[in-house]
């Protein structure tokens, strides 16, 4: 063999790929975002609706209040279903609702809120869906109840009357 470097390096590369795949396989949680209950709110630089500046999420969630982060999208059918629950929760003074608009088109999102009402105090614009992954969300809709900068409860899927009562009992 004239040149042994090439076969050796290619073999080496394949061994590395093998190890990575092997580890990925062992780690059964891969691609399932961690459930971040009792975790701190992730610190992210995000864009808000109708605002060109970026804000850090830590600033949005002040420590003395309850927050409900709701991940939604105008194209998401179950989001329509849970919307009345959010509108109901809006009336509670001890709770602020923060929306995270997931992989959506601004125009459609606006129409959605005009049609069904806007329960959100602030809306984070997550056009690529990457913030939602950082939050540990599986998809839309999902809601996180936050107190003292910590996630205390996670709701996967649309909110219903049961979760509504539960949220109310939490913030009492």
């Amino acid at each position: 063999m004239k040149n042994k470097l090439l076969p050796l390096s290619i073999t080496f590369i394949f061994i590395i790929i093998f190890i990575v795949f092997y580890k990925g396989l062992k780690d059964t949680n891969i691609y399932t975002p961690e459930s971040k209950i009792n975790n701190k709110v992730p610190s992210l630089e995000v864009k808000l609706f109708g605002d060109s500046k970026t804000v850090n999420t830590i600033e949005i969630f002040q420590s003395d209040k309850f927050y409900l982060l709701n991940i939604w999208s105008s194209w998401c059918v179950p989001c329509r279903e849970e919307h009345p629950v959010l509108m109901e929760l809006k009336n509670n003074d001890r709770l602020k609702i923060i929306g995270m608009n997931y992989k959506d088109n601004k125009e459609n999102a606006k129409n959605f809120l005009e049609e069904l009402g806007n329960p959100y105090d602030k809306i984070i614009f997550d056009s690529k869906g990457t913030y939602a992954i950082e939050w540990g969300a599986y998809g839309v809709p999902e809601s996180f109840l936050i107190s003292n900068n910590k996630i205390i409860k996670k709701y996967i899927g649309p909110l219903n009357t049961a979760s509504f009562e539960e949220i109310k009992s939490f913030i009492k």
């Binding site: 090439l6 795949f21 580890k23 780690d27 891969i30 329509r80 279903e81 690529k128």
Partner: protein, 626 residues
Amino acid sequence: MLYSVIGNYSLLLGLFFGLVLFYLSVINFRNSQVLDTKILSFTFLQFFLVVISFLCLVLSFVVSDFSNETVFNNSHTTKPIFYKIAGTWGNHEGSLLLWLLVLTLFILIFLVKTKNQPIKYRILTLVFQQIIIVGFFIFLIKTSNPFNHIYPIPTEGLGLNPILQDPALVIHPPILYLGYVGSSIIFSSALAATSLNLVSKKWASHIKKWVLSSWVFLTLGILLGSIWAYYELGWGGFWFWDPVENVSLMPWLALTTLLHCVLVLEKKLILTSWVIILSISTFALSMSGTFLVRSGILNSVHTFANDPERGLFILIFLFSLIFLSLFIFFFFHNPSKNNPSSFSFLSKETAIIINNWFMMYFLSVVLIGTIYPIFLDVLSSQKISVGPPFYHKLIIPFLIPFLLIMAIGPKLKWIKSNLEDKIYLITLLVVSILLSILIVKNFSSNFLINTILISGAFYLFFITLRDFFIKGFKNLAQNTAHFGFSLLILSILFNNLFSTETITNLKVGETFENSKTKIIFENISQKEEKNYKSIVAEFTIQDSKGKMENLSPELRIYNQPNIVTSEADIKTTLLSDKFIVINLVPNQEFFNVRYQVKPFMLWIWISVILISVGGLMSFLKKEYEK
């Protein structure tokens, strides 16, 4: 019950024959007598056993034998007979059995069709192919046996996922597998030819048939999947850069490149390393596709079951094959012997090599986009999602030179040429540019890139169109495929530029109106089918010219499993598709209505068919013309 037992034992016997064949071929390496008598009949027997096993599974589905775990998990008594049969390969176990069926069929065809090839080469190909077949037998029997029993016997099955109950999905997997598995023959044969130093023009013209047939099947298989996604998933798109779509696109890109290299090798005895490496990678990519999809390392619509044990088996199997082929390539392949005849810059070879590199670039983009998230997660626990913008940004700009070289390349001669008839080449380029400026000028966004891209596609379009008239039957196959490709790019571009979408909520009797269209929600009715209830909505669409069209999208509520699917209604005409889909909004009287006008949809399908027809013509042609 009985069928499961027979099926199970046929599988075990098939594995046994695989080992016997492996042993026989190794000890009788030079013996031509044994090959065409004993070995051939054992190969046939192995194929026959897999057929029996497959038929047993089909019958278990037909009679709804729920003592069989696979049937229980994927079937239901109320399912129509058509989908009971199709359910056989609509699940992990059954689809692997189908894969095995095609594997054994192809090696049989290979042995029958290659009687004029050197005996050692045929036996060695069989050896490599049996390694793959035995590997799949063990995988099937050990980790995903389709004939597992359940006791006590359930009275009803769990049903097949309704989105899979669709005619396109019935033939999509078998066609795709013919393509994937065809690449295994190319793989084994390339390894055999390399080991024996037989990579020659003669070998190229023999393996070309396999490359072409796999390529045609793979192309059609991808097309069917795409058509299904278009009307069943209800997003109005046909390609989503989903990991599973990507894993079918990667072998296709490798196979397309291989096809061009084999055509060159057949004429010139150059690019031997290209051919061998591509033969190996095509199959390795098909296998990695299986790994990525079946192990659950990636999540997607196609993930049947997440079972790390299965993943581990395929991973080890796949990498053993990769290391085996690397070993053979580096130790046996001797490129210095096939003295590459020098060729000038302006020649067909150069054009093909340049476009090969472009293809390799596209392939790496798709590969990185698909597996990078896994790497990142394993190495740094970060999660990212790679979506269409990534692929569009990296692929689209490079399509332009690709299209131009594709247009001019075939005009060049082998080894050395100076372009004759430059005039028409330039005239057509000018015409293409002017035409695309005319089309794009009303669109302010991305004016430049769209104009250049459309010009490139038009250029290829006109040049291939001209060749149909000037050259007639000469190079007809290549010309058809290239023409199809230009048509595909044009249709996709126009489709993206001119599609319109309206999303609204409507109650029965309401009307939505904007400057271009009027959507009237006329009526709603219910129907009761065998395994689902259906809600049919009737819409009348009126366009700006006052032309009326009736569309009736449907919601299907399946009983088992209890899932609601939306069936889009699509009115296809030559120039555009009208696509409407409704979604249920729970506890509300209104429906979510999504209406799209998508120009040139039909032409996307037609152009892909044209591309495959090109491949088919080349397959049927006796000899590659000068």
